[in-house]
């Protein structure tokens, strides 16, 4: 009986976890991180990689609090976040792992096929509430947005609304998967999401910025230049943690890693 404690200790020692990398943050980067982690673990047994979503803000907050090794983010650090880091004397490394193209989507039966950035501002600030005002059918617009914790939300607010505020009637959806479902079953819907989530149940719109001709979102280098809603996706980590993460980070930038990124639907 008195050896039980010893046995317990031995048992604990036996299952000491293998080295673990935790990655947390943006739902947009989540699928690519998962695919990369799986591909990496097929080749090497260590370190284990744990990937969780929640939104860019959640990941960056976790990194600042020391709860994750890597924060994945679909927006750059805000100037205010940078200043806070500087005050805490920490240096983060910003690693652009891929490019995402944001698709603005409607229900497949909606005849509207393109909108300008100004149209989007009018829709999301509530100045336009019916598709008929944009040349579509007489049908109220059901406006969807991601929750404010997502980097996609930040990107959209900054690059499309340019600081204007969302109308209170906008419906906020906590996850991209649910958003796709909502758009697919709502004839008057409009919403925005990362191109990797596109599927045939929803219809992407061509978008024009300024006086350019409208361009459909596409997963290639050309789209990055001509489409107004393309953005880099980042990994953030502490400079001091680099050596521990190096094997995985090198894999991401290898040809093999790039193939995985392309397969998920992003531009490496």
């Amino acid at each position: 009986m008195r050896y039980w404690g010893l046995l317990l200790l031995l048992g604990l020692w036996g299952c000491t976890p293998r080295e673990l990398i935790t990655i947390k943050g943006s739902d947009t980067v989540l699928p690519v991180s998962q695919a990369l982690a799986e591909a990496y673990l097929e080749k090497k047994a260590t370190p284990l990689i744990s990937v969780t979503g929640g939104g860019s803000g959640v990941g960056i907050a976790a990194l600042l609090n020391g709860d994750t090794d890597i924060a994945m983010s679909s927006r750059p650090l805000k100037l205010a976040e940078r200043l806070r880091l500087e005050a805490a004397q920490r240096t983060l490394i910003e690693d652009t792992i891929a490019w995402d193209v944001l698709a603005v989507c409607v229900h497949p039966q909606n005849p509207i096929s393109h909108l300008s950035r100004e149209n989007l501002v009018a829709i999301y600030t509530g100045a336009v509430t019916n598709w008929k005002e944009l040349g579509g059918p007489d049908m109220p617009i059901v406006v969807y947005s991601r929750e404010s914790s997502s980097g996609t939300f930040e990107f959209f607010r900054e690059h499309v609304l340019r600081g204007k505020d969302f109308a209170p009637s906008v419906r906020f959806i906590p996850a991209t998967g649910t958003l796709v479902q909502s758009i697919a079953q709502t004839p008057g819907a409009i919403g925005y999401l990362g191109i990797a989530y596109l599927n045939p149940t929803i219809k992407p719109l061509a978008i024009s910025g300024g006086s350019n001709t409208p361009v459909l979102p596409a997963k290639n280098q050309a789209a990055l230049a001509s489409y107004p809603l393309a953005r880099p996706l980042f990994y953030y980590y502490d400079r001091d943690a680099r050596s521990r993460l190096a094997a995985f980070l090198d894999f991401i930038h290898s040809p093999e890693g790039k193939a995985v990124i392309e397969k998920v639907g992003y531009v490496p």
Partner: protein
């Protein structure tokens, strides 16, 4: 000796539980109450061009200027276009990796624009600008406003009415489903269900009550929401009604088992007297048993209300989450718990947004507390039965 040990163990664990609960409550108050004293722009100074004669601004007017929905002339300023600059839109002009020197020279150049208004940390404020006072009323912002936009910089909108009324509305609608169906289920199982089916049915209830709410919520989104949309010819079925139906449905087992317990406690004497007078079983239930458990029904309803009020995942998925004051069962709603779940993860610890969310938690806590106190106050005493 052994008895003493057992009693001691029970006392210790009870004490631990009480202390933990007290700790959580204290934490809630400590993190929530600063929302009543703090302003969202602490550490920021608002300033305008020296030739601009505006002395002070209300928070609403100031927000209007920053959103460029308001002209300077409306608030007594010059007839020039508004140029708002603050910590969060700086990066639009100077880029995300700007050095402090570059930011400084940019700010010095905007300081020469007559229509400029800035919100900046004190150390960055160009010397030529004249600071103005922005009046922020904590109570007014929380209780006097009807918009919830807590991440808008530099002046968020944190009116809690849409969320508060959204929660009450969903709870009320949910009870309209829970109470009648719960009572019907209770009467059926207690009075008419064959003994051989009693336990299988009970187990089924427990399973329904124990379904993960995210499963119920997603089922609601994929099945119930499109159905409501077709049935009511709505633009979308993501409404208070969808949330209320699901919440009401998962709360039926709680309502039913509380009611059933009360039914089984109705004194035999009353029941037998009723039969003795020639009443049918149905008459006995309607005229004797249900009136006898009136008080217990109220208790059960209040406890069910508490359960519906606190549910998070289902409302987050099917209610549409738009922070508007609900006007009909077919309005979208955003409830207090759904807001906490969606936003708490990203609110920087100690920020105004963070304290405001805890304040919402506090409101939810007080609501639930009141419901539970009422539930116990209405609990029938031994004497009355």
């Amino acid at each position: 000796m052994r008895d003493k040990l057992t009693i001691g163990a029970f006392q210790t664990s009870a004490l631990l539980i009480i202390l933990t609960l007290a700790g959580i409550t204290l934490f809630l108050f400590r993190e929530g109450l600063p929302a009543l004293t703090q302003a969202p722009f602490e550490g920021l100074v608002f300033a305008v061009h020296p030739e601009n004669l505006v002395q002070n601004l209300s928070a609403d007017d100031c927000r209007g200027l920053f959103q460029q929905n308001l002209e300077w002339s409306v608030v007594g300023g010059p007839s020039v276009p508004v140029v708002p600059i603050h910590l969060y839109n700086l990066e639009r002009y100077v880029g995300n990796h700007a050095t402090p020197a570059k930011i400084k020279s940019f700010l010095d150049s905007v300081a020469r624009i007559p229509g400029v208004i800035v919100a900046l940390p004190k150390e960055w404020l160009p010397a030529s600008l004249r600071p103005i006072e922005v009046k922020w009323s904590a109570w007014g912002s929380l209780f006097g406003a009807v918009r919830w936009s807590p991440t808008y910089e530099p002046l968020p909108e944190v009116g809690i009415w849409p969320l508060f009324l959204g929660s009450l509305w969903v709870t009320f609608l949910g009870l309209l489903i829970t109470i009648p169906f719960g009572v019907i289920m209770a009467i059926y199982t207690a009075e008419f269900l064959p003994k051989s089916l009693y336990y299988p049915i009970k187990v089924l209830w427990e399973v329904v009550a124990g379904l993960p709410s995210v499963v119920v919520g997603f089922w609601g989104l994929v099945v119930l929401v499109p159905w409501l949309q077709k049935f009511f010819h709505l633009t979308t079925g993501e409404t208070a009604l969808a949330a209320a139906i699901l919440l009401g449905w998962i709360t039926i087992p709680l309502m039913a088992s509380l009611t059933e317990e009360a039914l089984s406690n109705v004194p035999r004497l009353l029941v037998e007297a009723s039969y003795g007078l020639g009443a049918t079983p149905w008459q006995t239930i309607l005229r004797v048993k249900l009136p006898a458990i009136r008080a217990s029904l109220l208790t059960a309803s209040l406890l069910s209300a508490g359960r519906i009020l606190g549910e998070t995942m289902i409302v987050l998925i099917v209610s549409g989450n738009a922070p508007v004051i609900p006007t009909s069962p077919l309005s979208p709603v955003r409830t207090l718990p759904a807001t906490l779940a969606a936003e708490l993860g990203e609110a920087p610890v100690g920020s105004y947004h963070y304290h405001t969310l805890f304040f919402l938690g506090l409101v939810l806590f007080l609501l639930t507390l009141i419901l539970n106190i009422l539930a116990y106050a209405t609990l029938p005493s031994e004497k009355s039965t």
